[in-house]
């Protein structure tokens, strides 16, 4: 008689080493170049905003996990840290800290936990927090300060997209140079100013295969085509597609916000539709809308379609013949 027994489990018996926290930490690491450049450009303001946003996100997450009697390991999965980081990066450097905390609480509470926590939310939590602040404090959310490198004596400072929209910068010839946009020596939200830092992070994300490449590619292509048509038709009035790609929140949105796994489609075709929708919406808002910038609303808008896109874009199964 043999006494020893073994564990019964369903196959497969092998598993790769990746896990949800590892993916989250890859995303956090990919945001480090932008984190460092924002600290470089905005000094103490940047650090204060990052600390208060991440702290408030973690505290809110902990409170909800405790109220809902959920396991504590969810707190350390890194998702709340990402929400805090991303929220801070989309805030104006001059925003007061109490308001930043309100945004962070809204991001986790309204953007994530009311839906059931990680994996269940419909909208990108960081953008929900930002939209909340934009509605609650519209003036504070559109007041900008110059980066520390620029020795200018103004208290407020316009972003390149503000210039484009409200100062008729193309006609005046005062459009921000592409080089400044690329390096980040401009006004704007904490993390969005330096295209270079964002692209470094994006390369790392691609290398780690942590994001769906279709989404940034689709967004950038759609925006290029959309703004390119107007630019070619009238270059004296409209800015070039390259300007639109590098300016404002497009890159951070395309690589780090729209690619949020939870709130983007799971099917390849769904991802393409979602990405093209965002790109065109951004173009529409920037060129014809009331706001100079439209990345946040475009992503939130397309987020609403994700369940539908998932439902109606099921991939063709091997051997399936679809009736025409």
């Amino acid at each position: 008689m043999i006494d020893k027994t073994y564990i019964l489990q369903s196959s497969p018996h092998f598993k790769d080493k990746d896990s949800v926290p590892k993916i989250m930490y890859v995303v956090i690491l990919s945001l480090m170049p932008s984190f460092l450049t924002s600290v470089y450009f905005f000094r103490f303001r940047a650090i204060a905003l990052f600390v208060s946003c991440i702290g408030a996100c973690l505290a809110t997450e902990a409170l909800f996990l405790w109220l809902r009697k959920k396991p504590k390991h969810s707190l350390l999965d890194g998702s709340a840290v990402i929400t805090g980081l991303l929220l801070a990066m989309t805030l104006p450097p001059s925003l007061s800290l109490d308001r930043a905390v309100i945004g962070a609480v809204a991001a986790i509470a309204i953007g994530k936990q009311v839906f059931g926590g990680l994996g269940h939310n419909i909208f990108n939590p960081a953008l929900v927090g930002r939209a909340f602040l934009q509605t609650a404090f519209p003036v504070a959310m559109t007041t900008w300060i110059p980066p520390a490198m620029l020795k200018v004596n103004t208290v407020t400072f316009a972003t390149p997209l503000d210039n484009l929209k409200f100062q008729d910068a193309v006609a005046q010839g005062t459009l921000t140079s592409l080089k400044d946009l690329f390096l980040g020596n401009i006004g704007g939200c904490l993390g969005e100013t330096s295209a270079l830092a964002l692209l470094l992070g994006a390369i790392y994300l691609f290398y780690k295969r942590a994001i769906d490449w279709r989404i940034p590619v689709g967004i950038i292509c759609a925006l290029t085509v959309f703004t390119g048509i107007f630019w070619l038709a009238n270059p004296d009035k409209y800015a070039s597609p390259l300007f639109h790609i590098l300016a404002g929140g497009l890159l951070i949105g395309a690589f780090f916000m729209a690619t949020d796994m939870v709130t983007s489609p799971i099917t390849p075709l769904g991802s393409w539709i979602y990405a093209l929708g965002i790109g065109i919406m951004v173009g529409l808002i920037r060129l014809f809308g009331g706001y100079p910038e439209g990345v946040m609303y475009s992503i939130l808008f397309m987020n609403t379609f994700v369940p539908l896109l998932n439902r109606y874009t099921r991939p063709r199964i091997l051997g399936e013949r679809r009736e025409k």
């Binding site: 008689m1 043999i2 020893k4 027994t5 073994y6 564990i7 019964l8 489990q9 369903s10 196959s11 497969p12 018996h13 092998f14 598993k15 790769d16 990746d18 896990s19 949800v20 590892k22 993916i23 396991p71 390991h73 969810s74 999965d77 926590g117 990680l118 994996g119 269940h120 769906d212 796994m261 939870v262 983007s264 799971i266 099917t267 390849p268 998932n310 099921r314 991939p315 063709r316 199964i317 091997l318 051997g319 399936e320 013949r321």
Partner: protein, 439 residues
Amino acid sequence: MKTITFPHGIHPPVYKEPTAEKRIETMAPPEKVFIPLHQHFGAPAEPLVKKGDEVYLGQIIGEAKALFSASVHASVSGKVLAVDGYNHPLGKPLLSVSIANDGQDRLFPDLQETKDAFSLSPDEIRQKVKEAGIVGLGGAAFPTTVKLSPPKGKTIDTIIINGCECEPILTSDYRLMLEYPEDILKGTELVRIATGAKRIIVGIEDNKKKAFGLLQEKIQDYTGEIVLLKTKYPQGAEKNLIYAALRREVPRGGLPFDVGVVVQNVGTVKAIWDAVSKGKPLYERALTVSGNGIKEPKNLLVRIGTTFQNVVDFCGGFEESVNILVMGGPMMGLSQWTSDVPVIKGTSGILAWTAPDPSIEYTCIRCGRCIDNCPMRLVPTQLMKYVRFDHLSEAENWGIQDCVECGCCQYTCPANIPLVHWIRLGKNQIMSSRRRKSA
């Protein structure tokens, strides 16, 4: 060299080194064997012997009565101890014939050799394969006679011989290709005659270059071609192999017949050759005993009905800390609760290792890796959710029945969700509700 493949799939570590260069050793038959009458896809065989009977090696002891069934033969000569329920790799006791080995290996006198096997008619080949109780030896154990009998109106143009052995750890098919290349090619020729096919393709993964080179050389004397396939899991899955080799898609719910193809594993064609030319029934098979829980990993030729414990004892025994015992490969194998289960026709491997503590399960973050890797191009996470929330008709619309349970989705799931388990559960629920309706 140019390799071909199919879209999606994964690259798990292969761990074939411990046994890849070890010859297939013949294990001496044990004192007692326990031969289940149900070792294949379909209905169990019906017992032909009773307690106290004397049986010969290779004597038929269970007869296939249904179309989807296979005969069972004694794997030792000796006295029948019982015809009763015994532990089975499927998890519950099933009707088995226990035989006390008399150590004589007295061969059943009715077994006949055939001098010129290639001159047999398709029906004669099928009959001999049926008598020998041959089933697919890759693991699924589908009765081979059925595969050799294309239904009316379907013509078979191509035979694909599956030498992929894409499951990690297993090496017995690789060894068969190195040690019995001629038998494999001769068996393939018999399959070609039986099905009336024109073309033969042998598919081998590019991490088995030695087998590829050897068969390439040997096949000059036969008709057929050898193709090199990319090392990728599940390259040996029937529908994916057909796609890789011929760019043909087996229709949903269909069989390889529907695209004019028959796929046979290398071990199966060798067994076909042995059965037809030597009259040898399927009473032993080659398998790999490996994993870091086995003291001396080996490739073995083992009599059907030998217990896993006997086999592992022959390989130096278990390591102390072993807590997982698997029949088959690590991706699709069946875990066993005890080592007191017999080797059956579908036992391609006996693996044992020490499993780490189970990792935390997170909620699905919709990363989409299961979709990117699914060789059937399904949406596993969606299937899992449909089953979880009892939307079984939706799960069917999304192709739950097309799942081959290869495990690519679960292997790569960062949330550690038991996707395959949920899909299996859903399939079972759908099948049982269908049975209720038809009853």
